[in-house]
């Protein structure tokens, strides 16, 4: 005990942050576990046990989101890893406009998500949108990107990747640049070509970056909402509903207890998928 107080800075310095964290994070989290088990009108509540959770899992308009959420997370995460890695390799190679291109790739990350959503839903308009008018001038009749229930979710995922790939690229650039020069020198001595360089050095040694991108993109995909809402609002019908958009709609309808239960479910859903994934990935990490 005495040892604790003999540090240069006392642990009391943690107090302000801890109090804020407690009040605006820990406390609401535990409160939400409670309010998830109530019918709640903001003014008063009645305890109803696990009724809300039962409703959430039974009703098709509520549990429709699990599949979509999973597909969305896997697709966006996978594409971000692939494109992020390729762009990362490209932007760490010896090209002249490297800095300019790095800003270009990172730029979409800086734009407001809502603005991106609105812009792309305009671009993807089936008859007047730029994408389909361009395709039409080439003699191809483009699909209804956001109206066709079969591809609407993938269209949104594509925009998410467009916006998020810059961030993944930055992580990859940092990861690739931290690979020590000696490996490349050894490769040169052994007479390896650039494919060997990518496959045997960059790919395995940027593993920490890959892990970071996978975890961040996957969790981000699971709770994604901000890009989807301005583009489709979960529609047409329920075709692109994810758990987050369903929860939002329950709040809108004034079902605060049910919505809170949905948040608890989302929390558990993300935890159940993300923790094992993180454990698995970290175990396989290698030291540089």
């Amino acid at each position: 005990m005495n040892k604790v107080w003999k540090r240069t800075y006392t642990y009391y310095f943690l107090l302000p942050a801890a109090i804020i964290y407690l009040i605006i994070f820990i406390l609401p989290t535990f409160m939400s576990f409670f309010f998830g088990m109530t019918r709640w009108t903001l003014q008063d509540w009645t305890y109803i046990g696990l009724e809300n959770f039962k409703t959430f899992f039974q009703e098709s308009s509520l549990n429709i989101g699990f599949k979509n959420t999973f597909i969305y997370a896997v697709v966006t995460c996978g594409l971000k890893v692939v494109f992020g890695l390729l762009l990362g390799v490209f932007l760490t190679s010896k090209i002249r406009t490297k800095n300019y291109l790095r800003s270009v790739v990172f730029f979409p990350t800086l734009v407001s998500t809502i603005a991106v959503g609105i812009a792309f839903s305009t671009l993807m308009h089936p008859t007047e949108g730029l994408i389909n008018t361009t395709l039409a001038s080439l003699g191809i009749s483009g699909p209804d990107w956001l109206g066709d229930t079969r591809i609407a979710l993938l269209s949104v995922a594509f925009v998410d990747v467009w916006k998020g790939v810059g961030f993944a690229t930055v992580i990859y650039i940092a990861g690739i640049m931290s690979i020590p020069e000696e490996y490349y020198e050894a490769l040169q001595i052994d007479g390896g070509n650039s494919w060997h360089k990518f496959w045997n050095i960059i790919l395995p040694l940027s593993r920490p970056a890959t892990n970071a991108v996978i975890i961040l993109a996957f969790i981000g995909g699971l709770r994604s909402f901000d890009i989807l809402w301005p583009m489709t609002r979960g529609g047409p019908g329920f075709a692109t509903d994810v758990i987050a958009s369903i929860i939002y709609k329950q709040y809108q309808a004034g079902f605060y207890g049910l919505a809170t239960a949905g948040n608890v479910i989302l929390f558990l859903f993300v935890s159940v998928l993300a923790f094992p994934l993180s454990l698995y990935l970290n175990r396989r990490e290698v030291d540089l």
Partner: protein, 466 residues
């Protein structure tokens, strides 16, 4: 590490600094909150602030004048029309009552606005008077606890009964109507009708036949604007006159959990009618929104638009030249004799129960619910149907499309939409009607799904019998 002699005092210093830091943080938050709540009122009139408790103090200091000056704060939604109406009412009332100053605050509309109002009520922060929907949305506000009972006000005698029932809960009346009624039905392009030799349909079969002829002529029969998914509900909701004509007790049974959409044939027809429109809409109906729908209607690019009559002022403003090409008819049922109009009731003005200025607020409501108040409204907001105040008449110069509604009212063939006579309304209806209208779900299936959605809503609201 560290010098033990200073250990204790350092501990105190650190605790003290933490407390100071935290106090500073709280003070900072409090300060910014205050600024937030003051800023909207500051822009309206600099001398007064929004919350009733604070507005009392400046009036107290200024009370060297004999009459006590009072400031009422009024909350309305931020749509242009709502703001115009509120402003017209407030100005006209202030002109008559110079001692009562009114200031307006705006809130978002739609479900965001619902949450805004509920939050204000639950934090005890509501304006003295607030404009809000009548019908099921009002009933969801827990009126007994939050809204002042105005059942015994003399002006209630001037309000027509069909409106009264939409602001009643457990036998008590809570609001005064702020505008005219709206019809929900089908707009049609008279030029297209004339060119193809069509007549206004009075049965659903006639309407379907018209749609077919229009389609064969190469014109879009029905304008669909499903990007704004609420617009997809119109056919289903505007069918309620027909539902209650066939089954007069449906609303009561439905509220009491005795009647279902899927098992009541007259109600199921509403979904079937929507299903009948599959294939008749414009190609981009999933990407078109309300504004583009109004434009298509005005420009004659579509023959029909099932919609509420609140779009008439927009047509007048954007396409005044084509307002006379557009007509309106009620959604037909299966029987010519039972053809009538489903009516949407206007929003109402309510008094917050804990308002500090109840008497002045009552005066304001009395003014709103008078022919004079409605005349003030009519100057800034084109009536979209008859008023619900006795003695308030719509001017003669309204466009023909508004007059198209009058025969239904004159012959008593109107019924308020279901959402005004029952608190039960499922929140997923827009999504379900999008699925039916786009052919992805059959009517029977959709009705069953909606029944399930409604059940959830009724349970969450804690209605009796669910």
């Amino acid at each position: 590490m560290g010098n033990p002699r200073f250990g204790k005092s350092r501990k105190y210093v650190s605790v003290l600094s933490c407390v100071l830091l935290f106090a500073g943080l709280l003070a900072g938050c409090g300060g910014s909150n205050k600024n937030d709540s003051a800023s909207p009122s500051a822009s309206a009139s600099p001398s007064v602030s929004a919350s009733p408790s604070e507005s009392a103090s400046p009036s107290a200091t200024e009370s060297s004048k004999p009459q006590d000056k009072v400031t009422l704060s009024v909350l309305t939604d931020n749509s242009q029309d709502a703001v115009n109406v509120a402003k017209a009412l407030m100005d006209a009332f202030h002109a008559k009552n110079p001692n009562i100053t009114l200031e307006m605050e705006t809130r978002p509309s739609g479900s965001e606005g619902d949450n805004f109002v509920k939050t204000r009520l639950s934090t005890g922060d509501m304006n003295d008077v607030f404009f809000y929907n009548s019908g099921s949305l009002m009933q969801a506000l827990n009126p007994e606890q939050n809204i002042l009972d105005v059942s015994n006000e003399p002006w209630q005698a001037d309000v027509i009964d069909s409106f009264k029932q939409t602001v009643t809960m457990n036998g008590k009346l809570y609001g005064a109507p702020t505008n005219a009624t709206m019809g929900g039905g089908w707009f049609y392009n008279k030029k297209i009708y004339a060119n193809l030799g069509l007549t206004v349909p009075t049965t659903w079969a006639d309407l379907t036949a018209n749609n077919k002829k229009i389609k064969d002529a190469g014109i879009t029969p029905i304008i669909g604007t499903y990007k704004d998914s609420w617009t997809s509900q119109l056919i289903m909701l505007a069918d309620y006159y027909n539902v209650q004509a066939e089954d007069p007790t449906f609303a009561a049974d439905y509220t009491a959990n005795k009647a279902k959409y899927a098992t009541t044939p007259a109600a199921l027809r509403s979904f079937q009618k929507l299903q009948d429109t599959v294939g008749y809409m414009n190609k981009d109906y999933l990407a078109a929104n309300l504004d583009s729908g109004i434009k298509m209607l005005a420009e004659g690019k579509g023959a029909h638009y099932p919609m509420l009559t609140f779009i008439i002022p927009t047509i007048l403003q954007n396409n005044p030249e084509s307002i006379n090409d557009i007509g309106f008819f009620a959604q037909p049922g299966d029987n010519t004799d039972k053809n009538g109009l489903t009516v949407w009731m206007p929003s109402a003005a309510y008094i917050y129960k804990n308002s500090q200025h109840v008497d002045e607020a009552k005066k304001f409501l009395a003014f709103i619910a008078s022919p004079e108040g409605m005349a003030a409204v009519g100057k800034v907001s084109q009536p979209t149907g008859p008023y619900v105040i006795k003695g308030a008449v719509i001017p003669d110069n309204v466009p023909q499309v508004v007059k198209d509604m009058l025969p239904y009212f004159d012959s008593g063939k109107t019924a308020p939409a279901l959402e005004f006579v029952s608190p039960v309304k499922g929140p997923n209806l827009p999504q379900i009607t999008v699925e039916v209208g786009s052919g992805h779900r059959k009517a029977v299936d959709a009705a069953a799904m909606y029944d399930k959605d409604v059940e959830k809503q009724a349970q969450q609201l804690g209605l009796a019998g669910w």
